[in-house]
């Protein structure tokens, strides 16, 4: 056993591969720095990059709980829209406390509803999430229509309560967030149980864990982080307009990519930190492409798409199981 174990040897190989990926990433950033006349790795620009990554990071942190138990939930975008607006409404009444509380309450409640629907109906979350997204979008749009009918718009913070979404507070939020999500995911029974459920449902059941309870709890935790992300989001954008037509579904793309990047570095970093690296890399990518003069709306998207596929190919190398 020990080091000579064949599986462990393979594990080591994999780790080496991933160190190379990370080194490659850093090298690319360095090259970009030179190519952009040293505007990339400046303090101010790094601040911007990190601050752009804050909201996706919180949402992705939430999502690792539901992703882990195999629930890809297409409704998160619409939940963020509703939770942000609710945070805004309470925020205008009760200040920052209301803002954060509003996001939390809405995030947790909607995730609880999702959890209830996913677990009770037993519809695969993939499809149920699509349905819930439509329902939430509809609720948002009805609220928006009602607001416009009564002569206004959906809640707008104007210049109030905007601190949470700005430097330095948003970046500072990352630190307690990181600690909280690490502890919850790696060091509490909620995280442990949901990781167990995600890995092997049958065995986990036999070990005396109630999988539905574990999943539901993890959805609630997910709701907490999505709610926090929504509160920061509302503070960042000031006003978020609900729309219909499944426009919110694409919100999941960035978190999904971040999780992919995180898992491709799974042997070096804990997934919780990997997520931060993932979201910051994405934010840095767009920033760098703009600095390099790559047009947005066209080639930037192409580069993003290709990058995601490339990262996945690298992280899936040597995969022998069934991939769907």
């Amino acid at each position: 056993m020990g080091d000579t174990h064949p599986m462990l040897q393979r594990f080591g190989k994999r780790r080496m591969q991933q160190v190379l990926v990370l080194a490659g990433l850093l090298l690319v950033f360095l090259i970009i720095h030179f190519a952009t006349n040293f505007r990339f790795l400046t303090g101010r620009n790094m601040g911007i990059i990190v601050s752009h990554a804050v909201i996706p990071t919180f949402i992705t942190w939430g999502l690792i709980f539901s992703f882990t138990s195999g629930m890809i939930d297409l409704s998160i975008g619409s939940i963020v829209v509703l939770a942000s607006n609710f945070a805004g409404i309470l925020g205008l009444k009760f200040g920052y406390v209301g803002l954060i509380l509003g996001g939390l309450v809405a995030g947790v409640l909607l995730q609880a509803l999702n959890g209830f629907v996913f677990l009770k109906t037993k519809i695969p979350p993939w499809v149920a999430g699509l349905g819930m997204a439509m329902i939430y979008e509809s609720i948002g749009a009805v609220y928006s229509t009602a607001a416009v009918r009564s002569g206004g718009m959906v809640v707008s913070l104007g210049s109030q309560l905007r601190g949470l979404g700005q430097l330095p507070f948003n970046v500072l939020m990352l630190v307690p967030g990181l600690i909280a999500v690490y502890i919850l995911f790696c060091r509490t029974s909620i995280g442990l149980n949901v990781r167990a459920v995600g890995s092997d449902l049958r065995v986990t059941k036999e070990m005396g864990i109630d999988p539905n309870r574990a999943k539901f709890l993890s959805m609630l935790v997910c709701g907490v982080f999505i709610g926090l992300g929504s509160a920061i989001n509302q503070s960042y954008v000031g006003q978020l307009l609900p729309r219909t037509g499944l426009t919110t579904v694409s919100t999941i793309f960035q978190p999904l990519t971040a999780v992919l990047i995180a898992s491709s570095m799974g042997a070096i970093f804990n997934v919780v930190i990997g997520v931060v690296i993932g979201t910051i890399s994405l934010s840095a990518l767009f920033n760098a492409l703009t600095l390099l003069g790559v047009p947005s709306g066209t080639w930037q998207e192409v580069v993003l798409g290709m990058l995601v596929i490339a990262v996945t190919i690298v992280s899936m190398r040597g995969e022998e199981g069934v991939v769907k």
């Binding site: 911007i48 229509t145 707008s156 960042y236 729309r243 426009t247 920033n287 047009p295 947005s296 066209t298």
Partner: protein
């Protein structure tokens, strides 16, 4: 006796027409929830109420296929005419064909057809005309103006790549600005993701070009976002121009965050309803050449001082009274013609409107003073 009964019948028919909402008009909102599109819908509803017609509003949810489906659905539900917003110029010919097949008249609003498309549409007897603005004309004067201040470089923040409205505004600005010797350094296209995306993109853009002279944003949502980002870079002394007069932009104007803004062309939707109403009343309005007319709505430039006037007399109250709208239709004003529309539009500016409203006794002298006249 016979003659009398016929007369009675006619009177009955006519009175029935007058009493009930006599027409049902279909109207599509391209994407509900976007301020600049919702305000179009609002004014269309206002115009329809003034004219006493029913408005059936549908939402295309930003997709071109749904806008076609919605035309079908409106026809199926028995509308008498359609006021149509085309997400793309490409759809006009086909929508006109569908309307002609169903014998339902059509008026285009906001997006004007290109000359080629227009020529094709004018062969269609059910095409009743178009009311809209030239988006090129939204960007062009701002480009001109910015260049005249001595600015040499500009970056643009705009909406979805490929959206004809924004492409035209960008083109207008670019041609004017570069024609005067300036240079457009980069354009941030913020997709329908809305404000959050525009916030990030405009910030990235400003990091890339910190010494730029001018920022121009072509539509409301990205404009609000860019305005906030620019606040963080107030030290750079960048001039900021905007098209679309969303409420936060008005505040920005007032607070001096924005050098100038234009917009307020959203009255086109209500005028389009009036144009269609004329057609339904049997008075198809023709232009000087006897063809279906195209009315261009001027894009109003709003200076910082006029903020209050716009807020109160455009947003809180509609810029036109119901009478003014009724005057455009032959039903209420037998003299209604293309000229009525043209006169109304020719006088469409902040000053003129305020003065007209003052003369009509809608606003008082105190108001005038508050607005700075």
């Amino acid at each position: 006796m016979k003659r009398l009964s016929i007369c009675l019948l006619l009177v009955l028919l006519l009175s029935a027409n007058v009493l009930a909402a006599d027409y049902k008009i279909g109207f599509n909102n391209a994407l509900s929830g976007v301020y600049c599109l919702d305000i179009l819908e609002n004014f269309a509803v206002y115009g329809a109420e003034a004219l006493g017609v029913d408005l059936m509003v549908v939402n295309d949810e930003g997709t071109i296929e749904k806008s076609i489906s919605n035309v079908e659905n409106m026809i199926a539900s028995g509308v008498d005419g359609i006021v149509y917003f085309g997400l793309s110029d490409a759809t006009f010919a086909i929508v006109a064909k569908m309307c002609a097949d169903a014998r339902v008249p059509l008026v285009l609003y906001d997006h004007l057809p290109t000359p080629d498309t227009l020529a094709h549409l004018r062969n269609n007897p059910y095409f009743a005309g178009a009311v809209g603005e030239d988006d090129y004309d939204a960007g062009y004067p701002i480009g001109e103006f910015a260049a005249a201040t001595g600015a040499k470089t500009a970056v643009l923040v705009t909406g979805n790549r490929g959206d004809t409205t924004h492409e035209a505004r960008v083109k207008g600005f670019t041609e004017a600005f570069e024609g005067a010797g300036g240079k457009v350094l980069d354009i941030a296209w913020a997709a329908t993701g809305g404000r959050a995306e525009a916030l990030k993109k405009s910030e990235d853009l400003l990091v890339a070009y910190p010494d730029v002279d001018v920022v121009y944003t072509t539509s409301g949502e990205p404009a609000v976002a860019t305005m906030e980002v620019l606040q963080k870079y107030a030290d750079l002394g960048i001039q900021y121009y905007v098209t679309d007069l969303d409420p936060p932009i008005l505040e920005g104007l007032q607070e001096g965050k924005i050098s100038a803004a234009n917009g307020a062309h959203w009255i086109n939707s209500g005028l389009a309803v009036a144009l269609l109403h004329n057609f339904l009343e049997g008075n198809p309005i023709k232009d000087a050449n006897g063809q279906a007319p195209v009315f261009h709505v001027p894009i109003i430039v709003l200076e910082a001082g006029q903020y209050k006037a716009y807020e109160e007399q455009w947003l809180n109250n509609m810029p036109f009274t119901p009478e003014e709208i009724r005057n455009l239709s032959v039903k209420y004003n037998p003299a209604a013609s293309a000229e009525s529309f043209e006169t109304l539009l020719a006088n469409y500016s902040v000053e003129q409107r305020i003065m007209d409203k003052f003369e009509a006794g809608i606003i008082t002298e105190e108001d005038l003073e508050r607005y700075g006249f």
